[in-house]
């Protein structure tokens, strides 16, 4: 196991940041800690790095109990949200820092340090900036230097705290792909913290969804996206329409309509329910194709890149429904504002109970 966390808890004055976290991460994996801000994900990362101490629990890195080691002795690479480059040092000195502060007996020779820094800067495609100062670089460039700096000390584990959140959308996407590629090259066990579900889905081997200091679900991006464990995860992993209703006698109310309850909820007593439908799992048609179709009116049409977003007011539903259709379908159906359409829910997910989000 690359990283093993056992019963990690952390209390801050007034609230619980982490509540009994257990997590195992295989060596070489790239893991996303995904959750809303304030859910404890950054605290967990800082605890693994030793920058914060847990109230209880154990942290085992590569089979070694590092719970009480200082960050200095842990040999983890840490990449900060705001880069944290040493602003008085140039790019070379920044990357070489971790090697130069080693004890004399462990410190590589000058030429070895030079080679290593050059190699790392090449790896992050920043070799041209070796003499520059952080203030002369853009955000994306700074973060790449920060990554090279973290990798310089051959860390057992690489920890990234919202590494791309301070960058603009375009750079963020580029760096994401680039990081994925880099990870395939160097294969160091990595954890990155993010509140961006897209980033987590695109980048990670496994996603750990955290909310209010607890792990809600963990699994591959596919598993987590397709089979969310609960309403929170479903809601957090992308846009969603939420319908509050009741489960009764094997049926679930969806607006004023009734649909069959899923098998596991067939025999429960009457209960409040929440039904989720993702916008792209809603079918739009000009002809009625089934009994259960709902009649809706298009209130708003929005261009969402390749998709078209529709805001529909549907008969029997109190709140408007958001749908997304491929551009082609939109053009074929010649949809326009005010049109009456038939709306079908291709895939619904029902959770019992009144889960607060």
């Amino acid at each position: 196991m690359g990283i093993e966390l056992q019963n990690i808890s952390k209390q801050f004055t007034g609230y619980t940041a982490l509540d009994n976290i257990n997590l195992s991460i295989a060596t070489g994996d790239l893991i996303a800690l995904l959750g809303p801000s304030g859910c404890g994900k950054t605290t967990l990362l800082r605890i693994i790095a030793g920058l914060e101490s847990a109230d209880s629990g154990k942290i085992i890195l590569e089979g070694k109990d590092t719970t009480n080691l200082s960050p200095r002795e842990k040999n983890v690479g840490f990449v900060f949200q705001h880069y944290a480059l040493f602003r008085r040092l140039n790019v070379f000195e920044n990357v070489a820092f971790g090697l130069k502060v080693l004890e004399r007996s462990k410190r590589p020779s000058k030429s070895e340090i030079n080679d290593r820094v050059e190699h790392l800067l090449k790896l992050v495609q920043m070799e041209w900036a070796i003499k520059r100062y952080p203030s002369q670089l853009s955000g994306g460039q700074r973060q790449r230097v920060a990554l090279a700096r973290a990798l310089a000390v051959n860390p057992k584990v690489l920890l990234l705290d919202e590494p791309f959140s301070a960058l603009d959308a375009k750079v963020r996407q580029e760096l994401r792909r680039w990081l994925r590629k880099l990870h395939e090259e160097i294969h160091v066990t990595s954890i990155f913290v993010t509140h961006d579900q897209e980033e987590a889905l695109e980048l990670a081997d496994r996603i750990v969804v955290i909310n209010k200091g607890r792990i809600e679900q963990q699994g591959s991006p596919q598993e987590v996206y397709d089979h969310p464990a609960n309403a929170f995860v479903y809601n957090f992993l992308g846009n969603v329409n939420v319908f509050h209703g009741r489960i009764k006698e094997g049926m679930v109310s969806l607006g004023e309509h009734l649909v069959d309850a899923p098998d596991e909820l067939k025999n429960v007593d009457e209960k409040p329910s929440q039904t989720f439908v993702r916008p792209h799992e809603i079918g739009i048609s000009k002809i009625r194709s089934s009994e259960t179709d709902v009649i809706g009116t298009i209130r708003e049409i929005r261009l969402l890149g390749g998709q078209i977003g529709l805001n529909l007011s549907c008969e029997g539903f109190e709140h408007p429904i958001e749908a997304e259709v491929p551009r082609e379908l939109y053009l074929n159906l010649q949809l326009s504002k005010g049109d009456k359409v038939f709306v079908s829910f291709n895939r619904v997910k029902v959770f019992s109970g009144d889960y607060e989000i």
Partner: protein, 288 residues
Amino acid sequence: MLKPETSTTTTAVKRRVSDPLWVRIVLISLTFLFFVFFIFLPLGMVFAQAFQKGWAFYLECITEPYAIKALQLTLTTVAIVVPLNALFGLSAAWAITKFNFRGKATLKTLLDLPFAVSPVIAGLIFVLLVGSRTPFGGWLGEHGIKIIFSTPGIIIATLFVTFPFIARELIPLMEAQSRDEEEAALTLGAKGWQIFSKITLPNIRWGLLYGMILCSARSIGEFGAVSVVSGHIRGQTNTVPLHVEILYSEYNFTASFAVASILVFLALLTVVGKVSLEKHFQKHSLEN
């Protein structure tokens, strides 16, 4: 069409924001008058008085043994006080900005005490604390250590009066800087002193220097506190400001002003140092 419109609005805004001509003239002349009466004129008077009896006499006044002794004592005091206060200021600023502990707010407030307390009282405090009639002072005296009416007392009094300068310069600076860089250094395996010398100190060095300049200026000029603990022994416990006062009270005006002109020179020097540091500061803050 758009461009001329926007430019007229900006001039209109400018006119509305700036004051009428007569207000500007009055304010500027008032400022000038103030400078003339309270800075240029007195400074000029110091030099006029100092040179009243010619160059030769001036040189004689500032090179006579007592004056030299006074200058030596003042510079010794500065040489000891400034490094000590730099050390104290650094550790106080470090403790206040990097750690959380009980009584932190109180400590921060008390840091201003030497500014608030009259220097004379500051001097008296030390007389009461370690004077030869107190038990502690007596004990020290028995062991041959004399603090009051000797150089250590002057140094201690100056330390007390000037200790807030550096700490107060560094605290806001260190508060504004996040801990990120230090944490990064820590995760890269740096030891405490490596982090301090390679990361923290370079980030605050201009602030530190600035504080040290203010601290030296005040140490050179301190009169009140030093006057109480010094005992005014010529050639032994007289600093430059005390020497000026003694000469003055002996109606030896020309000599008094001649020695005072040394203080003026030192003050001008610190002002120049301060200004050039401020320029450097601005340049650096722009870079970051």
